[in-house]
């Protein structure tokens, strides 16, 4: 399939330096569907919507605007595979549209570093690219139907619920579920999909984040016989993956030999028949080999 779609891909901090398999899977899946993704030269952290924005909004907004400006200079819309980066750019684009004072301030700051204020940039989460640009039916049609024995729990993550006034907050999470269904995997309802994974609490109070937030979700998933967790955010991925290792080490809490975690784009890659070793599925810290054994030959 070929497409005229072309995106300036913002990989963020997590994916290139912690989860390269997500980047590799995304490149292969986009290539398979004819969507061109271009790397963005000289981008910084988005910056993160938790620490930097709370410390100084001007710094956070100026750096976000600089990143968006780079996408603008490439003449493309901005895309991301991370919920946190999506939240930052979503909020920054809205702020630059609606807050005249901050817009003027950021304009002056960017001028000093030789960058123009970004204009009319659209932002897309990878879930929107998969579900809308490519389409649920297209994914379904090209899926090799090898995942039908894989029971998956979806975790959309909090920032995927970010929506414009004209949208329903459930639109993107629903799209996320539809993509998972289109891969042929069996989506298990464990009741608390909307519940936060606890990642943001981790840096403040680790025990609360792991025992109260994360373990609750894992327990429900485990009870429902889930083989694999599917996320749309690298931070949630880290929380589920490393969190399980820490729950075991620090609090003697474990769920079998661990529930493997993949990004939705990795699940799509598997559904399309892209070999796990081609995008480095084994580089995850969780037991992703269990996903492969569940796949039909």
């Amino acid at each position: 399939m070929s497409s005229n779609k072309e995106y300036a891909m913002y990989w963020g901090c997590w994916v290139p330096s912690r989860q390269p398999s997500v980047e590799a899977a995304c490149r292969k899946v986009m290539d398979r569907f004819g969507i061109k993704i271009r790397d963005m030269e000289g981008v910084s952290c988005c910056p993160d919507p938790v620490v930097t924005e709370r410390l100084q909004r001007e710094m956070w907004l100026a750096l976000a605007a600089r990143n968006i400006s780079i996408a603008n200079s490439m003449g493309m819309d901005l895309a991301t595979v991370c919920n946190g980066c999506y939240e930052t750019f979503f909020e920054a684009i809205e702020t630059l549209k609606t807050d005249e004072t901050l817009r003027e301030e950021v304009k002056k700051i960017l001028e000093q570093i030789g960058k123009p204020l970004p204009s009319s940039t659209s932002l897309k989460h990878i879930v929107e690219i998969l579900g809308q640009d490519i389409g649920i039916n297209e994914i379904k049609n090209l899926s090799t139907n090898k995942l039908s024995k894989l029971n998956v729990a979806v975790h959309p993550g909090c920032h995927l619920f970010r929506a414009h006034d004209r949208e329903n907050v459930q639109d993107k999470p629903k799209l996320f579920e539809d993509i998972v269904d289109a891969t042929g995997a069996k989506r298990i309802d464990y009741g608390i999909q909307r519940f936060c994974c606890g990642y943001p609490h981790r840096i403040v109070k680790e025990e609360f984040s792991l025992k109260t937030m994360l373990a609750q979700k894992l327990k429900r998933m485990w009870e429902e016989g889930v083989d694999c967790i599917v996320v749309s955010c690298p931070a949630c991925n880290i929380q589920f993956e490393f969190g399980q290792l820490e729950l075991k080490r620090k609090y003697k809490m474990s769920f079998g030999e661990g529930i493997p975690v993949v990004h939705v784009v990795e699940l799509v890659a598997l559904a399309l028949g892209i070999k796990p070793e081609e995008f480095g599925l084994h580089t995850h810290r969780g037991p992703t080999k269990n996903i492969i054994t569940k796949m039909e030959k």
Binding site: P16, S17, E41, V43, Q56, E58, M59
Partner: protein, 223 residues
């Protein structure tokens, strides 16, 4: 609009101090504040005393956690001008103004006792308000612990952001995995010094470095 007398005084300060004036504001509509760099503090007060017959009302010391603020309240025929300067907590030292305003001595001694700010060249360095052993035990009662706005858990994020523009470093194992997967080179501020410079320029412009208390030489927060 500045009244005639005030305008003349401020203009004189601006002309003589030029770049040494790092900020201007107002404490009240008729009460201007001139912020000067620490090394020009004595020069600023000298201008007011010698050119405008100003007298010192008092000196206020404020502990902002990372830095002290010293405010010299000067009176010129009813006009109150506040000359402000910052003193870093690491240094906690500033020039005494007793050379030009002998009466400043008691206030400087009191501030030294209560905040442990040393006044270099003070005419009489004895403790004033506290017993001698307080100063020896370094227990300045109004001096706060060294702290800034960045909480302990936020520090790695801020320091890594300032050092490389990204909030995570690239471990060698991931670098190796990237090569095996034939992923392209990362083109972020991590590998593009000219792009990182832009991030630093932005931090300077919006005074993020000052706000969070970042030490550019040590590439660390000051606390």
């Amino acid at each position: 609009m500045e009244p005639i007398q005030e305008r003349g005084v401020l203009q004189n300060l601006r002309t003589q101090l030029e770049e040494a004036i790092v900020g201007e504001s107002r404490m009240a509509p008729d009460s201007p504040v001139i912020k000067v760099s620490k090394d020009k503090l004595v020069d600023a007060l000298k201008i007011l005393v010698e050119n405008h017959n100003a007298r010192l009302c008092t000196i206020s010391a404020v502990d902002n956690g990372l830095d002290f603020e010293l405010i010299y309240h000067m009176s010129i025929k009813g006009l109150i001008i506040h000359v402000k300067t910052s003193v870093t907590k690491e240094e906690s030292k500033v020039s005494s103004v007793t050379g030009i305003i002998p009466g400043a001595m008691t206030v400087e001694r009191e501030i030294w006792d209560l905040f442990q700010i040393e006044f270099d060249g003070i005419s009489d360095p004895r403790p004033l308000t506290l017993p001698k052993e307080w100063r020896e035990d370094k227990k300045a009662p109004l001096r706060k612990p060294m702290e800034g706005i960045v909480a302990e858990y936020q520090k790695p994020t801020v320091e890594t952001l300032m050092e490389q523009g990204q909030v995570f470093t690239m471990p060698s194992t991931v670098k190796m995995n990237r090569e095996k997967m034939k992923l392209p080179e990362v083109q972020t501020t991590m590998t593009r010094p000219e792009a990182l410079k832009e991030i630093h320029d932005v931090a300077h412009q919006v005074k993020f470095d000052e706000k969070v208390g970042y030490n550019w030489d040590k590439k660390k927060l000051r606390y």
